[in-house]
Symmetry: C2
DNA sequence: GGTCGTGATGTTATCTCATAACACTCCCTC
DNA sequence: GAGGGAGTGTTATGAGATAACATCACGACC
């Protein structure tokens, strides 16, 4: 949303925090016998530094430190890995990707997405609770859920 | 999911039911001063007959009764109208569209999507309930929500 | 230390999903 | 019957994602 008449806060981690998070993620991968390779690390770095949902093609454009773009499969493969590890999430309603904001990756995340400033909060998301009720009645077994609420964050609410 | 080793039920309305639903939708539009034009009616007809989520380009391909395809904007504009009226919903996690299964359009629908047979159940979806709690704590105002649970329906569950 | 298998990457090409832009038509209203 | 707004037809293009295949890096095993 543009022209909303107010400033938007800066988001994303500072470089030192990004490095720390990357190192932690790399260590966790090592314990599981998975490899935090260069492209995976780079894509996670971009997501962490942004701190908000980023479009895949923005990652592709920003990938090279010299301003050179990556090839799409490079970034999409890294994103697939990061999602599988719980280090990143896809926001289907935005066709965008965001770094997971939890220390320990939770499955079943839910998101509050501000349509004004783009800020995204990842919330604990047993939000499938009521959903699980309906599902159970129908004999439906839930394996994963996409829960994305759009609206206005506290900073962007006109009243407040 | 293919090769899952069991049959899938047929879905979708019979022609008579489709006609009835189309006429009802048209009447409702008339009351609100909106026009159920030919392309809108045709796209809704295809969605109702399918009874499950349909990709936009499948609608485009099936649009002409003589096997001729529509132009993309024709179908996308009709879908936009149907969504606005609550007659259809977009399933973001599938990039697909489905006819609304409620007589009276509810806002804030939630979906149970079987990854095996493609069947989709639209459930009452106060499923934002717990979500609303987290949102309130953060001062976040929810305007609309995407709630899509993937899993296996009763017919496709291996146990059952 | 070799070699073998697996998983990851690089590269090209293509496929799917969605919309911008503009001309034209239909219908309602005055 | 002129004017305005909503809707449609058409062309072109932008944006999102993946298929296919060659090559490369790494660990396991002998």
């Amino acid at each position: 949303m543009d022209g909303c008449g107010h400033d938007h806060a800066q988001m994303g981690m500072k470089p030192a925090a990004v490095r720390a998070a990357l190192d932690a993620a790399e260590a966790a991968c090592g314990l599981d016998g998975e490899r935090m390779t260069a492209p995976r690390r780079r894509v996670l770095e971009l997501l962490l530094a942004a701190g908000e949902p980023v479009k895949a093609y923005d990652l592709i454009a920003a990938y090279g430190r010299d301003g050179e773009a990556a090839k799409p499969p490079t970034v999409y493969r890294a994103l697939e890995f990061l999602e599988r590890r719980g280090l990143a999430h896809r926001i289907a309603s935005l066709s965008a990707y965001v770094a997971c904001s939890h220390d320990r990756a939770e499955h079943a995340a839910a998101f509050l997405i501000c349509d004004c400033c783009g800020a995204t909060a990842e919330v604990p998301a047993g939000a499938g609770a009521q959903l699980a009720g309906s599902a159970g009645d129908l004999g439906f077994v839930i394996q994963r859920a996409t829960v994305e609420a759009h609206g206005l964050c506290a900073r962007c609410r006109p009243d407040a």
